[in-house]
């Protein structure tokens, strides 16, 4: 994987919550990098892992698959996975895939870190 295939992800520890904020589209091209980063973050076994998608304008099913996998890893290790900050196009794929009952989705990182 070269630098162009990578994805910028910032992190912030807020209480028990590790907030990870990726930036940019998450599609088939970039989801492998996002998957690798998320697995790294999950491996630290935070009590709550918050994925703030407020800087992700677009996501396709490969990005959703990455989040489903992260949720499965989180459940196995008793980490709570929370999504927040979904923009319209990202919200749309969760609606279409009917995953709203599967993920915990809240409006923003403040809410997520206290949820």
């Amino acid at each position: 994987m070269n630098e162009r295939d990578s994805i910028e992800v910032s992190t912030e520890q807020r209480g028990d919550a590790l907030i990870v904020t990726p930036t940019g589209d998450i599609d088939l091209h970039r989801s492998p990098a996002f998957r690798a980063r998320l697995k790294d973050f999950a491996s630290s076994k935070p009590k709550r892992l918050v994925v703030d998608l407020s800087r992700v304008p677009y996501m396709d099913s490969s990005g959703v698959a990455t989040l489903v996998e992260a949720m499965q890893i989180a459940r196995r290790q008793s980490t709570e996975l929370v999504l927040c900050g979904l923009q319209d196009k990202v919200r749309s794929i969760f609606e279409i895939a009917r995953l709203d009952m599967v993920f915990k989705i809240v409006p923003d990182a403040d809410t997520a870190s206290k949820a």
């Binding site: 162009r4 295939d5 099913s61 698959a65 919200r91 279409i96 895939a97 915990k104 989705i105 809240v106």
Partner: protein, 192 residues
């Protein structure tokens, strides 16, 4: 440089990384594109490399807006096309990033007005029996397998068919909501 049909990996390194090319349509390509719609005003040739998906999405989104779809519907159509291209790249070409994919965009005109759009995607990947192209059960929550569901959910008509010589053809149509097309509801996803 044109994509070399039947010669995967052919060409210089620079050539292999040329992403999108408004290429001269040769006789055999014209035959491959014969069925519908012949009068497509926009034709895109793209390599099966995921780094160029963003270009295809931008093109489809802009075309949909120009056809009269609002921002939300145009974004959904672009998502469906993204998923269709991803399926060709991942499953059809099994991850090979130097194979050709053709996409044609056209509006659907009825009684002198635009009522929707049609997208035809063709490839030279392995052929699959159309009946076997299905989504996974949505209740079976696991990574992957959502692409076909998303395409069928967004588009009004979805037709997979083998091309005459090799590869597959996918024809997708979406009518404007005001012309009987689907208008997917927006739901509140937030838990609390």
């Amino acid at each position: 440089m044109a994509i070399q049909r039947g010669r995967p990996g052919a060409g210089t390194d620079d050539e292999r990384h040329a992403p999108v090319k408004a290429r001269e349509i040769r006789e055999d390509d014209a035959q491959a594109m014969n069925d519908a719609p012949n009068d497509a005003p926009v034709i895109l040739t793209i390599r099966s490399d995921a780094r160029y998906l963003c270009l295809a999405r931008a093109l489809v989104g802009a075309f949909a807006r120009q056809a009269g779809f609002d921002e939300r519907c145009a974004g959904q159509v672009a998502l469906a096309i993204d998923e269709a291209l991803c399926n060709v790249m991942r499953h059809g070409y099994e991850g090979k990033s130097d194979q050709p994919i053709w996409m044609r965009l056209a509006t659907i005109e009825e009684q002198d007005r635009t009522v929707g759009m049609r997208i035809v995607i063709e490839d030279e990947a392995r052929q699959v029996e159309p009946a076997k192209i299905r989504s996974r059960d949505l209740a079976d929550i696991r990574p992957g397998g959502l692409g076909v569901h998303i395409i069928r959910e967004i588009m009004d008509d979805v037709l997979y068919e083998p091309r005459a010589d090799r590869g597959m053809r996918l024809t997708l149509t979406r009518r404007l909501p005001s012309e009987g097309g689907r208008d997917l509801p927006v739901r509140n996803l937030e838990s609390s």
